[in-house]
């Protein structure tokens, strides 16, 4: 077993503002521990990539950030996670509000079996973000434009979201997440079910989105992590092994394990 040093948070050193800060996060599924003492800062208006072999706890960590783990029976989270300095796990916090501030895009595109329009409009509707139909239309249009899907679907807003292609569906899901104006968007392997062209589309999109949102993305694709992210965190067996500037992690990793992983020697 390799000795693992706990890394020092890097983004602050790089001059960014910390949006989400995790300190000493342990996650248990029943008796099984999935994350061990994770300290990680996610910088505002930057893309942070989470990499690591399957089962190392990337998704688990991501789901802690919007309390999606709450719905899993037997899942327990300890430690502290703050959003703009506010403890996400405080007793007084409203989980539903957390999720409207921290949106999520899943591995498999999962549009609602409703029209394209209703998919995007659903979030704003339940949160009362639009006062009338015109405002809602505007939100839908803006969100679809931000997700660079507008030109492809503007004539078929009434068609079911499930009738779009895989890549379009995933961008629809991104638009749906954007529509509630979250501050942070979590993406769990958003391209793993897509073809290379759709993947390129989404990667481009992620780069544009960071001006308005803070993004954390899980990916198994090292090139993708290198292309889209400013910071990279490498997880292994539930521990955060290395975290830092993406360029530094990929060109000059501190840990040999990181080196081995990104060069494809294991994982």
């Amino acid at each position: 077993m390799v000795a693992i040093t706990v890394p020092v948070a890097a983004p602050t050193a790089a001059g960014g503002v910390v949006k989400v800060a995790a300190r000493g996060v342990d996650v248990f599924y029943g008796a099984k521990q999935a994350l061990v003492a994770v300290d990680l800062d996610i910088a505002e208006h930057q893309v942070t990539a989470l990499i690591g072999p399957s089962g190392c706890g990337k998704s688990t960590f991501l789901r802690c950030l919007n309390r999606m783990n709450d719905t899993i029976e037997g899942c327990r989270v300890t430690g502290s996670i703050t959003l703009d300095g506010q403890d996400l796990y405080a007793r007084t916090i409203d989980v539903v509000q957390v999720r409207s501030r921290v949106g999520m895009v899943f591995q498999k595109p999962n549009p609602f079996p409703k029209s394209v329009y209703d998919n995007v409009a659903y979030g704003p509707r339940i949160h009362g973000l639009a006062r009338d139909r015109a405002e809602l239309d505007a939100i839908v249009e803006t969100s679809l434009k931000l997700a660079s899907l507008w030109s492809e679907v503007k004539d078929r807003l009434g068609e079911p979201g499930t009738s779009l292609s895989g890549g379009q569906q995933q961008r629809l899901c991104i638009a749906r997440a954007i529509a509630v104006s979250p501050e942070v968007i979590l993406m769990d392997e958003p391209c793993s079910a897509l073809d290379p062209i759709a993947t390129a589309h989404i990667e481009e999109l992620i780069d544009e989105l960071k001006t308005n949102f803070t993004i954390a993305i899980v990916t198994h694709n090292m090139q993708q992590a290198a292309r889209v992210s400013q910071y990279t965190a490498f997880f292994h067996l539930g521990r955060l092994v290395e975290f830092g500037d993406t360029a530094a992690v990929f060109t000059n990793p501190r840990e040999t394990m990181t080196q081995d992983y990104i060069t494809g020697r294991f994982g």
């Binding site: 029976e73 899943f106 079996p113 079911p160 749906r176 997440a177």
Partner: protein, 435 residues
């Protein structure tokens, strides 16, 4: 090792072996298809035979024989004081009018015995028709009108050819004398068998020619309404709670096991439960659709809950995650996404449970719904019976004329079922979501 592999490869790639395999596969498929077709054909044939027999007999039960008589609405009998008051007219002796009309038609019948027989040609329900006729139009008082009056069930059976004229007099229910009268009426074109509304407008009766399905139909409708109103929301709510909100622990496991067991409990036990609780403890009236509906709701609940849970589980978890991901509350997740997607399945389960409840007799025996009820119920607290019980009662009656009624009642019950299923299909279509 490699030898084995080489041998297997050679065998697998041998065209003769492959051809034999394909042949066997095709033969198996053909056998399977033939068996399926045969099975379906047998099922269809049985269904057709059943329907043809039922509809044939049922149509017979829908036709009724009537006798035309010149009834003199004698003012002295109907309204002696000339009041024109409906209350007085309603109490008049209409039986006397019928008897008088018969006597006028067959003046040479004199003995008491023969008179009685003659009066027996016309149904005892005739007087109500005369009464209603007069109440509708008091203008006919003092005139003589030709009126088609319902014949008694024996006359009806004879007119329909169910009584053999050639049989010896002792073996048939109509005497030679009666046949002679009927032939005379027939010759005057005063005897006719045609479609009768009575079956659909009347409640039960001891006289087959006056018995109708309406009481039982309304009873079934009321009972089903109570069942649906109670079992559907309760069942769906329970399914949602257990599936979406309840923690998994020993208690919920226990509840789940018990619900599954309840679904298999014989229905008569629910009847006993209803008797003990709704009648003896709560003190609700016997024979009431409310109680019947409650009992059937208890019986249907486990089925609806189980079907509901199955439908809810079938909704992909990704939809729940997607909804939560944009900040939908647990209630919103269920109400906006999970429930609408599960609705077709829930409705299917509910309809299956309701169809079973509709055909149920045993638990209703326990709460007094087998009673002989003449009046059509007007509310869930009135004494009533239901279609299957009515079928049972009629099938059990000795009169030959109830055979047709029984068949017609079965057709009505089947029609009810088909309507219910039709509604279910419609609702399912409406809720169905294209993926």
């Amino acid at each position: 090792m490699t030898d084995v592999l080489a041998r297997d490869l050679a065998r697998a790639r041998n065209p003769a072996v492959a051809a034999r395999r394909a042949h066997r596969r095709r033969a198996a498929e053909a056998r399977f298809r033939a068996a399926s077709v045969a099975g379906t054909a047998v099922a269809l044939l049985t269904l057709v035979v059943l329907l043809v027999a039922l509809v044939g007999q049922g149509l017979d039960g829908l036709r009724a024989t009537r006798v035309a008589l010149d009834v003199a609405f004698d003012a002295a009998t109907v309204d002696p004081d000339g009041t024109g008051d409906p209350a007085v007219i309603a109490k008049a002796d209409f039986n006397a009018l019928v008897k008088e009309a018969l006597r006028a038609r067959f003046p040479d019948v004199t003995t008491r015995q023969d008179r009685k027989r003659l009066n027996g040609l016309v149904s005892s329900g005739a007087l109500y028709e005369l009464r209603d006729m007069l109440l509708d139009d008091p203008g006919v008082i003092g005139t003589t009108q030709r009126v088609w009056l319902p014949a008694s069930d024996d006359v009806d059976q004879f007119a329909k050819g169910h009584i053999d004229r050639a049989a010896s007099e002792a073996e048939r229910r109509v005497s030679d004398q009666e046949i002679a009268w009927l032939d005379a009426l027939e010759a005057d074109e005063a005897l006719q068998t045609r479609f009768s509304r009575i079956f659909f407008t009347a409640g039960d009766s001891r006289e087959p020619e006056l018995a109708g399905i309406r009481g039982a139909l309304v009873g079934s409708l009321l009972t089903m309404a109570v069942t649906a109103i109670i079992a559907f929301p309760l069942g769906v709510a329970t399914a949602i709670y257990l599936e979406e909100f309840a923690p998994r622990n020993r208690w919920t496991d226990l509840i789940e096991v018990n619900i599954n067991n309840l679904a298999a409990v014989p229905s008569i036990v629910f009847g006993l439960l209803g008797l003990a609780i709704f009648l003896n403890v709560v003190g609700l009236p016997r024979s009431a659709p409310l109680v019947g509906g409650l009992v059937l709701a208890l019986m249907s609940l486990p089925v609806i809950i189980i079907a509901g849970r199955a439908a809810l589980t079938a909704v992909p978890p990704s939809i729940r995650e997607a909804a939560r991901g944009v900040g939908a509350s647990p209630l919103q997740v269920v109400a906006h996404h999970v429930l609408p997607l599960a609705m077709p399945g829930i409705l299917t389960g509910t309809i299956i449970a309701m169809a079973r409840a509709l055909g149920e007799t045993a638990p209703l025996l326990m709460i007094g719904m087998v009673a002989f009820v003449v009046d059509v119920p007007t509310g869930p607290m009135d004494a009533a019976t239901v279609l299957p019980v009515q079928i049972y009662l009629w099938a059990d009656s000795p009169e030959r004329a109830f055979v047709g009624k029984t068949a017609a009642a079965i057709v009505v019950l089947l029609g009810f079922l088909i309507t219910m299923n039709g509604v279910a299909v419609y609702l399912r279509r409406r809720f169905e979501v294209k993926w």
